[in-house]
Amino acid sequence: MLSTADSIYSKESVPQTRGAVVLTTVARFEIKYQQYMDETGTFISNDVPPAFARDIDTLKQLYRDMNRVRVLDQKAYALQRTGKMGTYPAATGQEAIGVGFGSAMTKEDVLVPYYRGQASMIQHGVLMEEVLLYWGGYEKGCDYQVAKEDFPIAVPIATQSLHATGVAKAIQMRGEKRCVFTEIGEGGTSQGDFYEALNVAGIWNLPVVFIINNNQWAISVPSELQTNCETYAQKAIAAGIDSVQVDGNDIVAVKEASDKAAEKARNGGGPTVIECISLRLCDHTTADDATRYRPEGELDDGWTKEPIIRMRKYLESKSAWSSEDETNMLEELAAEVQQAVDNYLNTPVDPPEAMFDYLYEELPEKTVAQRELAIARGAK
């Protein structure tokens, strides 16, 4: 990652005269791509990996956390297909991103997620049943019991980037040593709100980390139609903030970059953009059919690079994981997810007056009669 020391700006340049014009380079930039573990589950460099990646139990935990998201997504799909839940956006293939940066967050940090954010949300304490409740049509799915300060999903794209800067500003003003993480798809970075957020985060040196989840697709629009830039990370350059591109299928790379960015933010070092490159191995949502637009072969290739199998290969290569471990883990995760599903399915629908009861601290007089009417109609 670029540090403030080797700044993105290089103001030193020898002026060059070409005819009547004198040209001076006033700024330069470069974007680094960061990877530790390749798709075969091998650390590419012989140098020592970051401390957390040398601890096999930590890696096992991250492996389990990624699997949990995948099991949940599969279950959610099944619920939708059997009419027990509404539209749901799976994150298949992108588990390393949310789990990776989610695991860089402390409880005191604040998450401002995007709509496909279940991996980081669960990692930061949102309950799986809350995720299911939300996509199952219950507002109470946003009434997080543990992640009390985290924002609910922002459905309009990119607005969350600005809410994150607001939370970060409050944290900064109060002199607290914590930070904000916010995620966005690569398509979302086309929105003005994203640029506005980066801009103000840069000017005010806000304690916020912007995660770009580059899964190559914005529904059916491929990444190359979203930008003419070589990277999404370089969008940070225009805001004067540090950025890095990482292999989003390499959870070690995601977590390491996130750890560093979080530490920097908490200590007054300001914002960072981390572009995580992955691939959406599923449809956009349950309402989508990616076979309409996805090039042939992309999925086959994608499945060879996805994050979970990569970590399993590594753990197996260290004799730290057996097929029995795998079976046990999947059984345990299935039970965890089933418990969340049961809780979701057993949650009663709110009474009709709930439409009114959380609009304001006190319901306006003029609306009281409508509330009574809704109760009376609902009772029939």
Partner: protein, 326 residues
């Protein structure tokens, strides 16, 4: 006790609450050293520092989004949108997030924030500087929309808006920012939101207005009195949620109503008031409901601005038509 203008009253109310509550912060474009283009925040940065009176980059969506994030953390942001015509980049945040946050989190996250914006025409301003689009926000459940008409109301209602636990859109009538002065004791006393004010008692007709148009409305009532027509004048003050009961009570007494608004006629606050009276008070009416409003046109650029704005004589004319109705 000094006599102060409406804009000074806004300033005083903000200053009072900043002094009383450390969570109150002010930000927007040019609100710092410049004190706002209308001077609403004049001297505040000097008094409370750059930390609490913050010049933002020039981006309205950002201003609203920032306020949401800060308010969710329990701060009490007062965000300025320099002119109401520029509020629309922020509308996604105001409508899609701000208004809904309490409801969608079932009360977990609430947003005690104020968005201030000067609204309305009549100051020979550039295009997009003169709109009265309060109905757009009044239509949105979860928001409160306040439009003070005079210095005392501006002071008391601003204090209430800042202290309110829910988001308030505070629209200031810039045409009358400096038209009159009130003696106001700077004691932090608020006026209630969601309540009309009866500014003048009368028996023949009820005149209802809000914001800047209240000045024409009150002057019309004066002139009508000289002609023997007794008009009751109601300042709506909070256009959402609407205190329809006060208006209905007045209509019960007078049997006639004329609604005066600067906004285009259709789909407006006046339409809502008329509909409420038609639903709940029609049997008390001695004549059809009357409305004096802007036209259903784009508010013209300033050469034609006077042609658009409702005037005292228009109100008088409409009142006479209603009173003489048989």
């Amino acid at each position: 006790m000094a006599a102060i203008t409406l804009i000074e009253a806004v300033n005083k109310a903000i200053a009072y609450e900043m002094e009383a509550d450390k969570e109150v912060v002010v930000f927007g474009e040019d609100v710092g050293i410049n004190g706002g283009v209308f001077r609403a925040t004049d001297g505040l940065q000097e008094k409370f520092g750059e930390e609490r009176v913050i010049d933002t980059p020039l981006a309205e969506a950002m201003i609203a989004g920032l306020a949401i994030g800060m308010a969710a953390q329990g701060m009490k942001p007062i965000a300025e949108i320099q002119f109401m015509g520029f509020i629309f980049p922020a509308a996604d945040h105001i409508i899609s997030h701000c208004a809904r946050m309490r409801n969608r989190t079932r009360g977990r996250l609430t947003l005690p924030m104020v968005i201030r914006a000067p609204y309305g025409g009549g100051i020979h301003a550039p295009e997009n500087h003169s709109e009265s689009t309060e109905a757009i926000f009044a239509h949105i459940p979860g928001l409160k929309v306040v439009m003070p008409s005079n210095p005392s109301r501006a002071y008391g209602l601003m204090l209430a808006a800042i202290r309110d636990p829910d988001p308030v859109i505070f629209l200031e009538p810039k045409r009358v920012y400096r038209i009159e002065k009130h003696e106001i004791e700077d004691n932090g006393e608020e006026y209630p939101l969601g309540m009309c004010f009866v500014d003048r008692e009368g028996t023949d007709i009820t005149l209802v207005s809000w914001g800047a148009m209240l000045h024409e409305t009150k002057q019309a009532a004066e002139k009508l009195a000289a002609e023997g027509i007794s008009a009751e004048v109601i300042d709506v003050a909070t256009v959402s949620p609407l205190d329809i009961d006060t208006i209905l009570e007045s209509v019960e007494k007078t049997g006639r109503i004329c609604i005066v608004q600067e906004a285009p006629k259709s789909g407006a606050i006046g339409s809502e008031i008329a509909a409420e009276i038609a639903e709940k008070g029609i049997m008390n009416l001695l004549a059809p409901i009357g409305r004096v409003s802007g036209y259903d046109t784009v508010i013209p650029y300033y050469r034609l601005e006077k042609q658009y704005m409702p005037k005292i004589e228009h109100i008088i004319e409409e009142v006479k038509r209603i009173v003489e109705y048989r």
